[in-house]
């Protein structure tokens, strides 16, 4: 059992997380006992366990930041299930006492414990994160694969796999509190699998007696559009998880009236994630990846930043040959005494970090290569502020 209890059970709202990362599959290509009748051409993966461990590590504060901060619903428990190749080393792994493998039985048990925690209080906040192989069946339903996919010889295509969409739908009828669901998996259509899994893999949670929705708010973010793939680094994290952690580390958030802090909620994540993923795409080889988010209902915060959110500033000078001949200076006009953000003078897009604000942006030549340009009242909003500038 890898439920990490962060704060004792209480009668007040808490945040509970369920993190699943499946990289090792027994019966897929590269697994311990690959089965040609089952693997469907899918291979074991390396990035999902790294991604899942990083998400769990971020929640618990094992990463560079202090971890999840939600004063209205402090972190109560984190359930971590990770399938990794035997002997593989993961970041923060030593900080977890034990790690259950993401096999069907263990995942069901972990999901059950998480659900039980979620039901303890109507204003609890839940986070469900999955990273691993996913396929889309013949009706657009996303199925996600666990370590023991194909292990039951009598029902190989319904074992070690579950229906993600129906699980989330059933959660809406079972959990009152705010839910955040992040599914980092491919959504490719697999006609072969769709035909093979005619029996339809079951969800982790069956719909109850009534179809009534009791859930107050749900934000679901899929790492890819329907029918498309999700990608990851062989040695590192997936693109989607990189973008998610960037968002949670502060490149996302909205201000609260009369308060110093900023909140990261479903709306802020829904709007930041496509932009952050595009930013990650730019530094990744291969096809671009686009995520899909659906916020609905009310929106309780997931994470609270102590101050203003950060913004990745990108200033794109054209013609390109002028990039090395100039610099930029950004001054937050609402804080005249604050140090300006500066940069430039390099080939490629000029980049810098700034805090959210309203800025005056100056683009100046080093000598007199082009005319100085001034952009007033630029609303620099997270996660990315991109300013294309044509100089003459």
């Amino acid at each position: 059992m890898t439920q990490i209890r962060v704060t004792p059970t209480a009668n007040s709202p808490q945040t509970h997380a369920l993190v699943i990362g499946v990289g090792h599959h027994d019966h897929l290509l590269g697994g311990t006992s690959p089965n040609p009748d089952i693997h469907l051409g899918l291979r074991v993966l390396q990035s999902p366990p790294v991604s899942a461990i990083n998400v769990a590590g971020w929640l618990l504060g094992f990463g560079p930041g202090p971890g999840l901060n939600n004063p209205a619903a402090p972190l109560g428990s984190v359930e971590v299930l990770v399938s990794v190749a035997p002997g593989a080393q993961l970041p923060h792994q030593g900080k977890f006492a034990t790690l259950d493998p993401a096999k069907h039985t263990e995942v069901k048990q972990g999901f059950g414990r998480w659900l039980q925690e979620m039901k303890r209080h109507p204003r609890n906040v839940g986070l469900l994160y999955f990273c691993g192989h996913g396929v889309t069946g013949s009706n657009g339903t996303q199925y996600v694969l666990l370590q023991d996919f194909g292990s039951d010889p009598l029902a190989p295509f319904t074992s070690g796999i579950f229906d993600m969409n129906s699980t989330v739908r059933a959660l809406e009828s079972a959990v009152q509190g705010q839910l955040f669901v992040f599914v980092d998996a491919c959504r490719n259509n697999s006609p072969q699998l769709a035909d093979l899994i005619g029996a339809k893999p079951a969800p982790l949670l069956q719909q109850g007696g009534s179809t009534k929705i009791v859930n107050s708010g749900l934000t679901t973010i899929y790492s890819s559009r329907a029918g498309m793939s999700a990608y990851g680094d062989r040695e590192g994290m997936t693109r989607f998880t990189k973008a998610l952690l960037l968002a949670l580390e502060g490149y996302c958030g909205s201000a609260v009236a009369g308060k110093v802090h900023s909140v990261i909620d479903g709306l802020a994540l829904s709007q930041a994630m496509p932009k952050l993923l595009r930013f990650v795409n730019e530094s990744s080889p291969g096809e671009p990846q686009t995520c899909e988010s659906t916020p609905s209902g009310n929106d309780a915060p997931l994470h609270v930043l102590p101050g203003l959110p950060r913004v990745r500033v990108q200033i794109d000078i054209s013609p390109e040959k002028m990039r090395s001949c100039g610099t930029f200076l950004m001054q937050d006009i609402t804080k005249p005494g604050a140090p300006p953000v500066t940069g430039g003078g390099n080939a490629g897009v000029w980049e810098a970090d700034a805090f959210r604000g309203i800025y005056r942006v100056e683009v100046s030549p080093k000598k007199k290569e082009f005319t100085k340009l001034l952009h007033e009242h630029q609303f620099v909003d997270p996660p990315i502020y991109r300013l294309p500038v044509e100089v003459k």
């Binding site: 013949s138 009706n139 739908r169 009534s210 179809t211 201000a255 709007q271 595009r278 309203i358």
Partner: protein, 507 residues
């Protein structure tokens, strides 16, 4: 002392008569919202924001549906309104049109030079009582070629329809069209990442109210939608005034459903929307979803979901992509229910599996409205059976009549046919047919057809060949039964298919 109000004006320069509602925010120096309202572009009177605090300096922010944000400072002179001049980025009455242009830095020359666009085409289909049929589509004089994109003015249809667009990027896209709406299609190439380009199709013209709401929903910007409509009164008003603008009523219902505002979605209003505007398939899905989400047992939910799907798909496809989530939910319940037509659910399932938005419009990747697929047609593969005989379409749309499955004649029969064609009588008959006169064989066929009565569905394999553009693999392989088609430039053209390269040359 109450802080003085701030007045805001917005002008849409390209279309001053537009009445697009946009959210406006009053910000303090931290960017914290201290007041919010909405503004109508082209409105005569300025909007008034009453701030919550007297903090200064202050700024007014306007959120455009294309994701752009405009900010201006508030003057210390209380009587001086903040004025925004919109439209340089947003050339149409709805800002959604500019979305792909602004967000992804498109280049018109890339659109024209894309290999796919040179073999791309567009078709118009309509769903009548006899099933889907293709309509002639003449785009000359009905398009604008701006430096950044190609915009087509579409013929308004009497019945629900669909566009099939092939931009040369894999499988064509089928996009739902409502009846009696003057829509436009924008085809533009956008840069997804540096050096990676993607051709996008966006449909617009549903009206500023509809597009305003659905654009924000599509982008997940519920906060902007909320700023436009605090308390959701406006969306409820759209639904109430469904007679005035049924598409806006549908958009309003989608918004209220997303916000889970059950108390603002009265079932009688939704029933009226579904019953009075049968050409809006989404209305049936909305009604069923609200009923199911309010609670019932699974069996009842299955029956209701099945009926709603049937009602919606008899009238074409859902109009808006927001329907996909609802359709998935209903499909889930319906497929667990006994007694549903498996063909119908299988077809809807395939549509869901191939779903692909075109802006706010519902669409899916497919070869025809009755053949959703994500697989690129391969000229060297045999014809998919479902493409040759649109069984699903017939079953799905509930059209009565005997199903015709074209059978390939045996080799012996083909040889006999070839020999017969060489006989003088056959030659005479062929000459008559060429001259447009009925020969003996045609007359006999007509006589049989007259006895049989009017055809209830017209999509035989022959009809499919007629309506399918040259160049698609299965069409050409069927046309002679054996040989592979000469791709990508077909020798012949169909009048009913408009080719982009003709427009791009003209442009």
């Amino acid at each position: 002392m109450t802080p003085p109000p701030v007045y805001v004006h917005a002008y849409a320069v390209k279309d001053p008569s537009s009445r697009t509602a946009l959210p406006i925010y009053l910000l303090d120096d931290r960017g914290v919202v201290i007041g919010a309202d909405r503004i109508l572009t082209g409105g005569q009177r300025p909007s008034r924001i009453d701030p919550d605090s007297d903090a200064f300096p202050r700024y007014v922010r306007v959120d455009l549906p294309n994701g752009n944000v405009l900010v201006k400072p508030v003057s210390t002179n209380e009587n001086s309104p903040v004025t925004f001049v919109l439209g340089y980025d947003s050339p149409r009455e709805t800002m959604s049109w500019a979305a792909p242009r602004v967000d992804f830095s498109p280049r018109a020359e890339v659109l024209a030079l894309r290999e796919g666009m040179q073999s791309g085409w567009i078709q118009l289909w309509q769903l009548g009582t006899t099933g889907w049929r293709q309509l002639p589509l003449h785009l000359h004089g009905r398009f604008d070629a701006a430096p950044t994109a190609l915009e087509l003015r579409l013929t308004d249809l009497r019945e629900p329809g669909a566009l099939v667009i092939n931009t040369g990027q894999g499988v064509p896209q089928v996009i739902s069209l409502p009846a009696s709406a003057k829509l436009r299609a924008l085809i533009t190439t956008t840069e997804v990442t540096q050096g990676t380009w993607d051709t996008q199709v966006v449909l617009g013209g549903y009206g500023p109210r509809t597009e305003g709401v659905l654009e924000f929903l599509r982008k997940g910007a519920l906060d902007s939608a909320e700023a436009l409509d605090p308390g959701m009164e406006r969306a409820m008003g759209f639904l109430y005034e469904k007679q005035k603008d049924p598409l806006a009523a549908t958009a309003g219902a989608y918004y209220l459903l997303r916000r889970r505002a059950w108390d603002r979605l009265p079932l009688p209003w939704l029933k009226n929307l579904a019953n009075r505007f049968k050409w809006i398939p989404d209305a049936h899905l909305l009604l069923a979803c609200v009923q199911i989400r309010e609670g019932m047992n699974n069996r009842e939910a299955g029956i209701l979901a099945g009926r709603a799907i049937e009602a919606a798909f008899t009238r074409g496809f859902p109009l808006f992509f927001e329907a996909r989530g609802l359709l998935q939910e209903l499909h889930y319940y319906a497929s667990r229910s006994e007694g549903r037509a498996p063909n119908q659910l299988a077809f809807v399932g395939r549509v869901l599996a191939c779903a692909q938005p075109a802006g706010i419009s519902f669409g899916f990747s497919g070869l025809t409205p009755f053949h959703p697929t994500r697989e690129v047609p391969d000229p060297y593969l045999p014809v998919p059976e479902s493409a040759a005989a649109p069984r699903v379409a017939m079953a799905t749309y509930g059209v009565a009549g005997k199903q015709v499955t074209p059978k390939k004649p045996p080799a012996k029969k083909l040889a006999a046919k070839a020999a017969a064609a060489k006989r003088p009588a056959a030659k005479k008959s062929a000459a008559k047919r060429a001259a447009g006169k009925p020969d003996g064989r045609t007359a006999a066929k007509r006589s049989t057809a007259a006895k049989r009565g009017p055809r209830r569905f017209g999509m035989t394999a022959q009809a499919l060949r007629e309506v399918t553009p040259k160049g698609l693999a299965y069409e050409s392989t069927r046309s002679n039964g054996l040989s592979s088609p000469p791709l990508p430039h077909p020798p012949g053209r169909r009048q009913s298919t408009a080719y982009f390269k003709d427009l791009l040359v003209t442009a």
